[in-house]
Every structure is written in structure tokens, then in C-alpha cells.
């Protein structure tokens, strides 16, 4: 057994942490959020630091790293409240290409991701689909060699920054059938694609994306038509594994910030950190963050196992982290008192971020059901 990070992974962590302190502190981040284009210079930094190429195979301009490398990045991004669409582009977009892309698609797209020229958003959820990955109403009808896409995608994270959309669309079967779902990589500027952009609760940006008779060539299809659901499930598991580490980074920050606040905030003539009821609450926060890290790590390590084992580990981690992060977030705000609900204090923004993450690719209830179903399937 070995829980040590490699020297390279520690180096990534250190350089990211340094960058965040210097270039992405809370005030600079707040300023950058007001500007449409500020993310671009951050993205260029991610490329320079090698973050975008980290998990991409060496033959396509990457560093050939794996999920642990991504987890290190995600945890630091959690601590810094990074809003740029790293996971949609690198984990989801990069993952779809890795598992379903042809050699030519990989050659073109992965190199572009690695160098920072390609930003991808995952146009998967729909207004009525909630988190069900199989629930796809957007259609892709065969048209000569290519396809014509029609439909609406909901809350597409990172779409305002993206230049390409990874789209799930139905090429066959009924709305909720497992078979008949296909993956397309579509330029956002394709004719017939329109977006309505908005911020989300955590200051990330997202869009409602509308496809109206969008014609794409055969080269837009990733993998075999009708058979994309297993790939979609896999990349969403990998995305959730990474988001879990981001949540862990947020929880660690909330625990630290709360402890520091409690040690300095004076009431009744002493620091509130001396009150036992608050001490125990902070101990519970600490334990929640530790267990969350354990579960996040467990899922990340199991990503390469069988589909079933992988999904179970990710679902278990999502359940655990969803519950723990809600507790930690609420406790952090409570111990900060009125200051905790102000926009001015960092702590509330971590709470918002973890609330956002819980509602991304399935909340606690969703993954509890999924875990139970996978268990039942294994027993049958």
C-alpha cells in the first residue's frame, strides 16, 4: 500500500498553490469574474503549467498522466475556487476523445486541448432529464454522410467559454432507452447553435444551448452511433471523481477558515473557539473533510476497475461527499455567524461551490439509488 504522491504530483500542487496565492486570490478572482475575457489568461497559465496536458497521452502532446494527477489539480482548484471549465474540457472532453475518438479525431482535438486552444463543454443534461444520462430527447438524424441535430440542452457548464460542445443526442430508440445515444463534438459556432449564457450559484458560467437543424459531418460523431452510453457513464464517473476532489479542497478550506475565525472572534470575553459546542462542531467538520478525502481517493483509485466497481466507488463517494460537504458548509457559515452569509467573506463561496457540486451529475439521493441498484445487480 502506498498513499504517497509522486514528486511530479507534489510539484504540480506546489506550483498551482503558488499561482493561486499570487494570481487567483479572492479579490483578483472577484475582479476577474466581472470581465468576460479574464478567464483566457488563466487558461493560458493552465496550459503553461502543463495542467491541460496532464492526463493526455504523450503521443497527442500530453504528459500521459492519470486520474491522480487530475485529482491533485482539482483539489487545488477547489481551494482557489477556480471557475474555469477545466474538468469539462480535460476530463470530459479529453475522456470522450480518449475512449471513443478515432486516431484522426484524437490527433486533432487532444493536441488542441493540451496546448490550450480547445475549450469543451458537455451538452448533456436536458430540461426534463434531471441527472439521468440515458434520458436524451435531442435528436441527431442521419443526413447523407452526416447528421442534423435538434433539441435543447440544459445548464451546460462552461459553455460560455467553450469553442466546442460535446453533445449527447439520440440516433435511435426512445427517450429513455440505453441504446440509441450517440456523442458528437460540435463547434459552438456551427450554424443553428444558439446559447443563453448565465452565471450559476457558484459564479461558474453556463448556458442553455439550443440546436436548430444543426448540420454536422460524419467526423463530428465520436465512436459508434447508438452505442455511446457506456462511454458517457465512464466520463461522467471520471468527472465526478475529479469534482469530488474539488469538494474536498473546498471542505478543507472551510474547516481551516472556520477554525481561524473562531480563534480570533471574541464574544463573552473570550474567543468563541473556547466554547465546547463549537469545538465539537469543528471536530465534526474536520472528520467530515477527512472521510471525504478518503472516499474521493478511493473512487479515483478505482476508476480503472470494471464498469461496475468504478461506478459503485464513484457513487459511494458522491453520497459521502454530498452529505459531508452540506454539513461542513452549513457549519462553517453558522460558526461565522452573520459574517458567514455575506458575499464579502470567502467561506460562503466555498459553501456555494460545494452546493453546486452536489447538484452536478447527480446529488446524494441519485447516487444512493445508483449504488443500491448496482449492489442489487451484483447480488442477482
Amino acid at each position: 500500500m502506498n498513499f504517497d504522491y509522486t514528486d511530479e504530483q507534489n510539484a504540480i500542487r506546489d506550483s498551482l498553490s503558488k499561482w493561486a496565492q499570487q494570481q487567483y486570490d479572492f479579490d483578483k478572482r472577484r475582479e476577474a469574474l466581472k470581465s468576460e475575457g479574464a478567464w483566457k489568461s488563466n487558461w493560458a497559465t493552465f496550459a503553461e503549467l502543463g495542467l491541460l496536458m496532464a492526463p493526455i497521452a504523450e503521443e497527442y502532446g500530453g504528459l500521459g498522466g492519470g486520474p491522480i494527477d487530475v485529482s491533485v489539480v482539482a483539489e487545488e482548484f477547489g481551494k482557489a475556487l477556480v471557475v474555469e471549465p477545466y474538468i469539462p474540457t480535460v476530463v470530459i472532453g479529453g475522456g470522450a476523445l480518449k475512449y471513443a475518438g478515432s486516431a484522426a479525431q484524437k490527433e486533432e482535438q487532444l493536441n488542441a486541448i493540451a496546448s490550450g486552444e480547445r475549450v469543451i463543454a458537455f451538452a448533456q443534461a436536458e430540461p426534463k432529464s434531471r441527472w439521468a444520462l440515458n434520458d436524451v430527447s435531442t435528436t441527431a438524424k442521419k443526413d447523407g454522410a452526416g447528421y442534423v441535430l435538434n433539441g435543447q440542452k440544459a445548464v451546460v457548464l462552461g459553455a460560455p467559454q467553450a469553442d466546442h460542445l460535446l453533445v449527447t443526442a439520440r440516433t435511435g430508440g426512445g427517450q429513455r432507452d440505453s441504446k440509441g445515444v450517440s456523442l458528437f463534438l460540435v463547434p459552438k459556432n456551427a450554424k443553428g447553435v444558439t446559447t443563453r449564457d448565465y452565471p450559476t450559484m457558484d459564479d461558474t458560467r453556463a448556458s442553455e444551448v439550443y440546436f436548430e437543424n444543426v448540420s454536422v459531418g460524419a467526423e463530428a460523431l465520436l465512436g459508434a452511433a447508438d452505442g455511446a452510453l457506456p462511454v458517457i457513464e465512464r466520463i461522467v464517473d471520471e468527472a465526478n471523481a475529479a469534482y469530488n476532489h474539488e469538494a474536498v479542497g473546498c471542505m478543507r478550506m472551510m474547516t481551516d477558515l472556520t477554525r481561524e475565525y473562531a480563534k480570533t472572534r471574541q464574544q463573552f470575553g473570550k474567543p468563541i473557539a473556547t466554547f465546547q459546542v463549537l469545538q465539537h462542531r469543528m471536530v465534526d467538520m474536520f472528520m467530515a473533510a477527512e472521510e471525504s478525502y478518503s472516499m474521493a481517493l478511493r473512487a479515483t483509485i478505482k476508476l480503472h476497475e470494471s464498469d461496475e466497481e468504478r461506478s459503485k466507488a464513484v457513487a459511494a463517494a458522491k453520497v459521502s461527499i454530498g452529505k459531508h460537504s452540506r454539513f461542513v458548509g452549513q457549519a462553517a457559515v453558522q460558526i461565522h455567524g452573520g459574517m458567514g452569509v455575506t458575499d464579502e467573506m470567502r467561506v460562503g463561496h466555498y459553501f456555494k461551490r460545494t452546493t453546486m457540486l452536489d447538484a452536478t451529475f447527480g446529488n446524494v439521493d441519485y447516487h444512493l439509488r445508483r449504488f443500491t441498484a448496482l449492489n442489487a445487480k451484483a447480488a442477482a
Binding site: 430540461p127 453558522q334 458575499d343 447538484a359 441519485y366 444512493l368
Partner: protein
């Protein structure tokens, strides 16, 4: 013992229900559920009730109350929740009003109570300070007597909707030498007085619901002090007990349970069936309803005691704790119910706001974040537990 309404009470319920249906401004119906209310929106129903003589049902009749029994007041709250009305703000009617009619001089009663009843004067609360939150008695805002005036200097914070206020009631220190609670006085301050400035504080929901209030050499006539000098803590304690009693919010929570059910009927779960049929969701909803019943029954018992002249005591802390916990759980479940459409947060885009997802989804996250305040304000729930431990259990 009897939980049923009498014939007279049912007649009363029908009367107030009809009054609400006929008189509540149509354009404000249900608007209480969204958090974008203007000053006029907040005051509209209050002013209608003021004309009818129903704006302060809990007040003694001689001061403009309705003379209703506790049961009638309970029915009144139920019917207002049912009608989704925007209730009169608590700062005048539920907080400073009772302090004035209990501790004020006849002149003070005459001067201030009519504006509270009519809704013409908007009151705000100047209690907490940056250094005095849970430990309210450590407040430092200073009032120095100079002839027939006080000169007030200091800073108050978390003043809810103070940006709209005409008047405020403030706790100030008049004797810095006395023990913490003993040197405090209760002052009424005209918010237009020179030296008063209000700075809105941005909250996690993107709104500006609370404020910092700065007091710089504010001249306050001595006749605006309620009760004796240095005895303001008596008023403060009295007011806090009143604040807690109304804080359970049972009727509103019952209404919000119904609203949550209607959302869960409209939402499709991940299995393709309505969310309301989902086992996990149903279980949580049922637990919430059961806990709300327990709170309601406890509140009714408290009301009955109050009716018998024994209230509201330290037990009202129980209503505050349980009431706010339920309000917060309701916001959590609503957030869960709307799924990934909880994520869009277009508020803050200024004039470009637009709805994303179903009509009911947009407020779920802002309301969830906003209601974290409930376990903090009015004495945090930790402080409420201390009160029960000390005052009720004698620990």
C-alpha cells in the same frame, strides 16, 4: 381538551379568508416566495390591514389590537399563509410596538403607535454590532447625555431592510462604568437625523437585505428614550422573547410544504416518474411534515399558556430552534427537488435577468443560502440552547 375549532371560530376563519381573498393586492399574490420585493410591496398589505384595524392582532385592544383570542390569531396566520400574503414586517408591529406600549410614556405611545399600526412608519432594529453578536450585552455604541439630548456614536450591523427605514430602535450604552447589561438604554432614532448613514451588505443570495448603520454624533432628544436610563436591557430581553415567539413560522412552513409537494409533482425524477413518487424523497417529506406537526402542537400549547397570562417564557427558544430548523430543511428539500436547475443564478445580472428552467426553480438556491440566516439571527440557535439549559433546565 379539544383541537377542533368551534362554530364561532369557523365563522371567523371564513370571514378573514373572504377578507384576504377580496382585499389582498392581486399583483402581490405569491410574491412573498420570491425575494425581489420593493418598499411598496412590503407595505401594501400592512397598510390595508392598518385601515381595517387588523395590522397588530397580538396587541392589547386599547393600543389598537384586535382583541382576538390566541386561536383566532392562529387562524389569522394560517389564512395569511394560505393566501400567500406579505405579512407586516416584524420590526414595528412585533418588536418595537410592544416595547413602546409596555414601557413607554403616554406621550410616546401616542406619538409612535399610530404610525406602526398604519404602516406609515418603517422601523428597523439597531441591536447587533460588529463586536457584539451573540454577546449582545457587550455592545459599545455610546450615548452621552448633553442637556435634553443624547449624542450617539457607534456602529450597528445586520439591520434588516434598514435601507428603507424611517425610524430605528437602538440599544446604546449610557453608563460605561456599569456591569454590561446595566448601562444600556433603549433609544428611538429618526433615521433622517444628521449623522446616521446606512450601508447595505451584499449577501450570498446576491441581495442586499441587511445593512451596517453608522451613527456619528447623532443628536437624539431624551424624550426618545423608552423606559429608564440604563434600564434598556429590560426592554431588550422583553423584545427578544417576543421576537422568538413569532419566529417558529409554522403557518408559512405548512404553506411551503404544500408548495414543495406541487414542485415534486411537476418534477420528473431520474427514473422517469414524478419525484413525488420517489421513496427517498417521500420519506424526507414525511419526516418533515411530522416534525412540523410536533412544532405546531408545541406552539399551540405555548399560545394557550400565553392566553392564560403565562407567556412567552424561555420555552419560546424551543420554537425558535425547531421552527428555523424546519424552515431550513424546507429550503434544502426544495433545492434537491429542482435538481440541476438549482444551479442557474441569473440574479446579479442587473437588468438582464431571465428565468432559466421551470418558474419555481430560480429561487431555490438563493432562498436556501439566504435562510442560513435563520439559525443565526434573533439569538443563534446555540445561544437559544444555552437559554433553555440555564433558564428551563437549571443547568
Amino acid at each position: 381538551m379539544d383541537l377542533n375549532f368551534s362554530k364561532e371560530e369557523i365563522a371567523f376563519r371564513n370571514e378573514v379568508r373572504a377578507f384576504i381573498d377580496e382585499n389582498y393586492p392581486k399583483h402581490l399574490k405569491g410574491k412573498v416566495l420570491r425575494e425581489d420585493l420593493s418598499k411598496d410591496d412590503f407595505l401594501a398589505w400592512h397598510k390595508i390591514l392598518g385601515k381595517k384595524g387588523w395590522s397588530a392582532p397580538a396587541w392589547p385592544k386599547e393600543y389598537g389590537g384586535t382583541g382576538w383570542t390566541a386561536t383566532q390569531r392562529y387562524i389569522w396566520l394560517e389564512e395569511n399563509a394560505r393566501g400567500e400574503t406579505i405579512p407586516p414586517l416584524p420590526f414595528g408591529v412585533s418588536m418595537v410596538g410592544p416595547v413602546i406600549y409596555t414601557f413607554g410614556t403616554p406621550e410616546q405611545k401616542q406619538r409612535y403607535l399610530p404610525g406602526i399600526l398604519s404602516g406609515d412608519v418603517w422601523w428597523c432594529q439597531g441591536y447587533s454590532e460588529p463586536g457584539a453578536g451573540s454577546d449582545l450585552a457587550s455592545l459599545k455604541t455610546r450615548a452621552v447625555r448633553e442637556g435634553d439630548h443624547y449624542i450617539v456614536n457607534g456602529q450597528k450591523t445586520w439591520t434588516t431592510l434598514g435601507q428603507h427605514a424611517d425610524w430605528g430602535f437602538f440599544l446604546v450604552r449610557t453608563d460605561p462604568g456599569a456591569k454590561a447589561q446595566e448601562g444600556i438604554s433603549f433609544l428611538l432614532i429618526d433615521m433622517k437625523s444628521p449623522g446616521v448613514s446606512v450601508r447595505p451588505i451584499k449577501l450570498l443570495d446576491g441581495g442586499y437585505e441587511v445593512n451596517d448603520v453608522f451613527l456619528e454624533n447623532v443628536k437624539v432628544p431624551v424624550d426618545q428614550r423608552i423606559y429608564e436610563e440604563n434600564k434598556g436591557w429590560t426592554c431588550a430581553k422583553f423584545l427578544l422573547a417576543h421576537e422568538r415567539a413569532g419566529i417558529a413560522g409554522v403557518a408559512r412552513s405548512k404553506r411551503n410544504v404544500e408548495r414543495l409537494k406541487s414542485i415534486a409533482k411537476a418534477e420528473i425524477g431520474d427514473d422517469g416518474k414524478p419525484l413525488i413518487e420517489d421513496d427517498e424523497f417521500q420519506r424526507k417529506l414525511s419526516e418533515l411534515e411530522i416534525d412540523l406537526s410536533a412544532l405546531e402542537m408545541t406552539e399551540l400549547r405555548t399560545l394557550a399558556r400565553e392566553q392564560a397570562g403565562k407567556g412567552p417564557g424561555p420555552e419560546s427558544s424551543l420554537l425558535k430552534i425547531k421552527g428555523t430548523e424546519i424552515q431550513q430543511r424546507l429550503t434544502e428539500l426544495t433545492l434537491e427537488a429542482v435538481g440541476n436547475y438549482a444551479q442557474p443564478y441569473p440574479r446579479g445580472l442587473g437588468g438582464n435577468e431571465f428565468a432559466v428552467g421551470p418558474e419555481y426553480s430560480g429561487a431555490a438556491a438563493p432562498v436556501y443560502f439566504n435562510w442560513r440566516k435563520a439559525s443565526i439571527y434573533g439569538g443563534s440557535n446555540e445561544i437559544q440552547r444555552n437559554i433553555i439549559a440555564k433558564m428551563v433546565l437549571g443547568l
